[in-house]
Structures are given as C-alpha cells and as structure tokens.
Symmetry: C2
Amino acid sequence: MLQNILCFLEVDVRKSILHAFYPMQRAQKDRLIQRLIDVLPQTSILASQEELKPYECDGLSVYRQVPALVVLPETVAQAQAVLQLCHAEKVEVVARGAGTGLSGGAMPLENAVVLSLAKFNHILNINKAGRTAVVEPGVRNLAISEAVSHLGLYYAPDPSSQIACTIGGNVAENSGGVHCLKYGLTVHNVLGLKILTMQGDLIELGGESLDTAGFDLLALMHGSEGLLGVIVEVTVKLLPRPELAQVVMAAFDDVEKAGQAVGDIIAAGIVPAGLEMMDRLAIQAAEAFAHAGYPTDAEAILLCEIDGTSESVSDFITAVEEVLKHAGATEMKTSASESERLQLWAGRKAAFPAVGRLAPDYYCMDGTIPKSALPTVLRQIALWSEEYGLPVANVFHAGDGNMHPLILYDANKPGELQRTEDFGARILELCVQSGGSITGEHGVGVEKLDSMCVQFGAKELQQFFAVKDAFDSERLLNPGKAVPTLHRCAELGRMHVHNGALPHPELERF
Amino acid sequence: MLQNILCFLEVDVRKSILHAFYPMQRAQKDRLIQRLIDVLPQTSILASQEELKPYECDGLSVYRQVPALVVLPETVAQAQAVLQLCHAEKVEVVARGAGTGLSGGAMPLENAVVLSLAKFNHILNINKAGRTAVVEPGVRNLAISEAVSHLGLYYAPDPSSQIACTIGGNVAENSGGVHCLKYGLTVHNVLGLKILTMQGDLIELGGESLDTAGFDLLALMHGSEGLLGVIVEVTVKLLPRPELAQVVMAAFDDVEKAGQAVGDIIAAGIVPAGLEMMDRLAIQAAEAFAHAGYPTDAEAILLCEIDGTSESVSDFITAVEEVLKHAGATEMKTSASESERLQLWAGRKAAFPAVGRLAPDYYCMDGTIPKSALPTVLRQIALWSEEYGLPVANVFHAGDGNMHPLILYDANKPGELQRTEDFGARILELCVQSGGSITGEHGVGVEKLDSMCVQFGAKELQQFFAVKDAFDSERLLNPGKAVPTLHRCAELGRMHVHNGALPHPELERF
C-alpha cells in the first residue's frame, strides 16, 4: 500500500538540505571497500550502480539519491566494525530498515554508506511469563505478533506498513497506528534497546522492568530518526490478545458534529482501541474502491473499535452507540462478526490508494492537533479548500488528533502545485497554532525540515543540535535530516509559530 | 508521613560525592548577593544561617548541607536572571520543589545557590474540553486534582507524598504512585514543559498534542533529577474521575503464591488501578498500627483495586476474585462501600511508619524487577534474611514490580550496620540481574550513586555525561548527583552487573 502513496515534495527547495559535497572520490571509495572487506563478507558490501540503485530512496520515492556504498552486516560485531571504520574515515552513515518510511529518513546521501539492518532479522528470545520479546531491529513489525500468536500474545503498535516495516525503523520514527490511541506509540511498547553510537560503542538502554535509573535515553532514541545511534536490538512488551473486538460505524451529516462526537466518546470515559474519521470525499473514494458499506451521502463517518473481554466489549459498545446517537449520528452499524468488522475497516485501510484515484496528484499531510481543536481545524480547512479551489479528503486517527488531510491537485495545471504548497504550509501552521505539531507519525526526515522552523524556535533547535552532538559530535550519522539548521530557517524566512494560541498569535521571527 | 521515613544512608562513603571545594568565600558571596538584589526583591534572597537552615536537606534527612544562599524567584524572568547570573559567576545551582524527595536530589551543596520554586505555585490555565492544565512547577500534586475536581477530572499520578510534593519535583524524579500501574508514571501524564537551561535560555518542550517532532527532550527531562534544566511550567493531562473504585484484599499462606497471583491477574487481561503486596511482617506491623482488618496470620496479602464504570468494575472485580481464588487465596474481602475501600487501604498507606516501630532503624530499598521474577526474588530475599539474621518487611507496588524491601536493624549493635549495607547491596544487584533496576520511583540523587555503578557500564555512564554536557557543559546544575563518575565507580571497585540473566551471570569489571 505504501508504494501507492506518492506524497508530493517540493524537490528543488529541499535539494539544499543535502550537503553540497562532491561525490566520494574513486580512490577514497576503493580504500573504504578494501578496509570493509577486512570486517565483512564480500557479499555484504554492495558497490556497483546496479546493486546500489534499489536503495536510492525510501517510501518518499519522489526524492532519490544513490549512496556511495551499501553494507549489510549480520552481527553486532560487524556493524560495530563498520561504524568504527566510517568514524575513522569521516564517512557519513545512513541506517536503514525496510525503507518504508514516508519522510525520507532513510534516504541515502551521496557520500554516505547505507548501513542496512536487513540481515538483523532474528527473534532472539520470547519470555512468555514476562510477556517480552527480544528481537533484532530488522524483524518486521507483524512478524513479532506472528511469532507469539500461539501464546495468545501480540505486539500492539500497528503502523499501516506493518507487513513490511521493521521494528528498528518503528523505534527510529516512533511509529503509531490505528490502535495507538489505546496502546500507545512505539515508545510506550519498547522496554529496552541496544544501540551502537557512531564511534561504534555499544550502549544498553532500559530493560525488562518498567523504569530505569539515569537519563531516559531509551525514550530519547524513539523518533530520533537515525541521528543518534544505530539500533541493534529491541526488547518489546507483548500484550495478551483481546478476547473480542467490535467496531461501530457512525455516519454524520456534518463534519463538525463528527469531530465533536470524538471528544464526547473520550469524555464519557471510554477508551476505544481505535477511533478513526473520514470525511465525504474520503468516504466516497473508499466506498467506490473497497465496498465497505459506508453511506456515500454522509458528510463524515467515524469508526470506533472496542476490544477486551466479551462482557466489557458489550458494555462499551452500548455506551459508544448511545454517545454517537446523542451526538447526532444519522446512521450506525455495529459489526456482528469478525468478517463484518474486517469489512468495515476495509474502506478505511484502502482510503489512501482510493483517494489517489480522484486526482492526478495528492499531497498527504501528517499533523497533530489537540482533540478539542478538531471542529475548529476542520472548519478552517474546509474554508481554505474553497478559497484555494483545491479539494481535500480528510482521513485520520481522530482519537489521537493525528490528521492526514490529502490535498488533491494536478501538477500539470500551471500554478496549482504552488497553491497546494501554500495550502499545505498553512495547514501545518494551523496545527502548531492549535497546540499541535507538524508530524504525527511519519517523522520529519527530509520532507518537513522547513516546517520544523515553524514548530520550533532558535533555542529549541540549538538544544536539539547539542543533544545530537552528545552522541555524534562530527555529525556523521544521517546528517541533514530531522533538524534544520538555524541558517536554513533564517534563509527561508519561516516563522516560529507560538504554541497553543488561537486565533492567530503574535508571531516571533528569528 | 515522609518525615517518618528515615532511610538509612552510609554517610561517610557518600560524603565523597560532594565536590571538595572550600566554602564560598565571604567576598564572593557578598558580591553575588549584591548582584542578585538587582534582579530579585531582597525578601527573595535568604543568606543568614537561620534562614538557610530549613533548606539543609530534603526527605533524605540523614544527610545535611547548608547551602551558600537560597533564592525564591516569583517569575520566569527572575529565575532566568538568577541562572544567567550564576552561570556568569560559575556558581552551582540546586533547584528545589517541596523538598520531599527521598534520595537527596534537592540536597544543597556547600557552594551552591538553592533555587526554590516555592513561589511558582499558580495554576495558570485549565482546559476543560482538552482536559489539560497548565501549572507552575511549585503547585502541589494534589492541588491540581483539587482545582479540577468540580469538572469531574483529576491528575492521575499519586506519589505517597502527594499532599506536599510539587509537580516540578514529580517531573524531575518521574514520580509514580499506587495508581501508576494503570495510569502510568509522571512522564506518561505530562504533555509539555517550559524549562530554563543553566545559561538561562527558555526552552519549550511538547505541548497539548500527543507527540511532537524533534528529539524527545520532554521525556528526557523526566527523571533527570535537576541536572538538565530548571522546570518553570508544566502542562499536565487530566483524566475523568472514575465512576467507581473497589478493592479486593486477598490473603495467602505463602509469599510466592501471592507473587504468582500478581502475574495471574495481569495474564488474565485485567488492568488493576493498583496492585499492592505486603508480606507477613509488614501485615502485622500495619494491622497493629492502622487496624485495617488484615489477617495477621497470613504470609502475604494483595490489595487489588479496580476502577471504571459501575458495570465494568463489577465484571472485573468478579474476574479478580476468581483469579485470586484459583491462585490459592485463603481469605478474601471486597470493599462494599467507599469507607470500606479506604479502610482496606489505610494499612498499606501506614505501612512505612508502622514498620518503623518494629526496630530502632530500617533501610528502605527501592528497586524494580520484571513481574515474572517476583517469586524468585522474594524467595532469595527470604533466604538472605535468614543468612544475615536481619528481618525484612516487604511492602511494594507488585503490579509494577517496584519493590520496597525494608531491612530492620539496630545501628547500635556492632557490625549490624555493615551487614545491612551488604544485604541491601545484594538486593539491588539481584534486581539488576533479574533485568530490573536500582530505583523504581525514589530516584538516584546522592543515595544510590554507588549502585549506578552496578546498573550501568562505562559506555552508558559516559553517554549520560555527554547528554548532561549538552545542556550544562560546565556542570553547574545539581552537580555530583544522579550519575557517578567513572573514577568513582573504579575507586569503589563496584561491578557492572549484566542485565537480564539469572542465576549469576558473567560479571564484567571496569
């Protein structure tokens, strides 16, 4: 599915993020290969254009760069040796899992060695009593749940790409998913990590117990987008698979009413396993594509899933139905079987490719807002959609306030690309003004570097760099990603938008 | 209650943690006061011995040090000016909330300025719809819940000291409490922070939405024990107060059976609001003190609280009773009213002072272990208790694996203090060997610096210092606490114990 998501990217502007180095010279590359052969099997070193080509991008496929080399170590000692070598030679390193990321976090750099963790694909230990699993970073997200399903257990975070994406990449991006409303993000489900620093030092963080002493470097690694260390082992928390899951689909004749209903469900003390929302355009596209049984005349639908024991699911489903009815739902449908549940989800899961059929191009946004701001933000996006003359399909994790507005446009129409850009930037600024953020689950990578200038002020960005330097003072690990330089922000003339104030707050230029 | 907890401390050894500076010279102190008068009201500067004396310790009262000065700023600008001044003058700063911490995190240093946040005691904003509150760091934990109770909301983390302790201190120590099993630690309930760095820079971290871009400095600040920054504003998450809470007390004739029952409850998919355990000695002491209705012939009791809607509480209480019966409970009692619930908790809440009546001295430990290790660890502690001839009362947050073994001893008996120390150190090593940690909720402070040498290896400690330096390169903020130097660990000859292996793993000396 991820391959179908072609998020638009303003390629020219963003080119400037990459270090304007000359390509690695032939002699330097040859010397590096010679030294790598001392520490890696020759088959673990890819150096020809044919071998390197498949690594030229991650899920953000509009932006491509063939790296200098790709290495595929199989052991911690090999990965350590690669890092020590690159550190000594001052060669940049980009770690890579499955390459399904959507913001270019694993996109290669011209002079960099891509360190693929693809061969770190073993489940090392399953502790049934303690409900933990120790896995290598290249293990696929879904493979963990498959390996423990016979014990009635599973690993909770479920990004859409869970068939393909790896747990190491999940940690690097702090991935979410439909069920993170109830079960938390990756950071809430990982107990321990082993990482290698750029110098090749092995560091153990966390463990199997709830909390540890010392600074919380375990949390710090989550969402650090490969800038602080290379993850070589992950200890995850496993949960007992719920006895039952049921989903309620509710239709509304007004998108704000649906937004309000989200708040009402949470306010009623209900903790849904998932709470998703789609607006008219998304519903129509999804229904035409997946025939999930959505009412195509509705302005919005909510999908609210409850899981747990049979009794508690039954109680909470009744409570959800009451709240939704009171919130003005015009139609409701509750799954009566597992196949009905999967059918109701089928439309939501196919929403991105379905919307992709409505226009030549779309720009998928990923921002968060406080739940209470949902009706206001939706209204504003609808107003702007008219103003710009660009349709927007809204598909998002409503319970978390994680929005994915999809702006439809045609890059071949003169000026439409620029208008889409402006519109998108205003949506992200609105997210920040509402007290939210410019990324919910896709990360910053190379895609949102400029928006970081809106989210953060100079002092915060300086502190990010100070922390980066505490791990990698020579900035060799995935440089130029995730955190923009002050110089870049100043050059772009972007403004830092102050958190948590609506209507438009005083703007601070730096 | 905290005043009654006199945790034992090996004073002589630990003196060495403090910088062996000479006291601040009179002239330097006078100059500092003169400059402080420019930025603070004179009444906010305490300089005489009489005024300074009350600040000489925190909740770890066996260890005392009068600071050079105490300042009580009232505004962010004042606190910022104090930090800028101290930074310029290279004067150490120790931030302080209510001073209820149990590990000496707020203990003054001889040449330091204590920066009290006592006047930062205002609730700045309550957002009912978004269920958040913005508060100053000196607001007491319980005062937040009191201020929002008319909205049916509360702030979940509830350390025993919640009447007195402040939210800023809670963040600095990442405080837990009886209910953190279900509702998480402080880090899971704080959405945003404003901090001042040692240089006086104001940094905003997080916000009202679920996740933000950039490195997770918000999580990093939690449990950083005042070493990275001074917290000047906290945005907390509020929860709807549960409709009902009920508690089941279950007695067991064997402490291991009780430990196993803890795992059984969690394995059954039940999420108790609290799950506490006490062993025979603790039960007897608590019952004699508080008359809670505990069976004094039991080897262990569990207290399992369920909260939620009336229907779900009723369902889960039935489920808990079934699990406990199946696990071999010899007696059970379920609260039928709020007063019965409070009575059942009264013994647990009074357990520390109650145990304090059994012996002239006790040494309270605070370590964590994976839940699955509970029976093994309890058995080992019982064996060592016989071997050392020192009784141990076990009172702990069983659901979290956060143990508080209390070793009873008499400091006046020759050699008993040393034996207690050895015993305590072995318990903490056992926690680490089991995959746990040397502190659950009390922090490291000055108390557990030596145990940090057991928990972490040289590479981890070096990385902690690198992160410290990324915020405070001159190490002026609460120096000498929380993270021991490699030199100290080497001098003590303590061993780094490898995580997650039982029985005794290969030990690595560094």
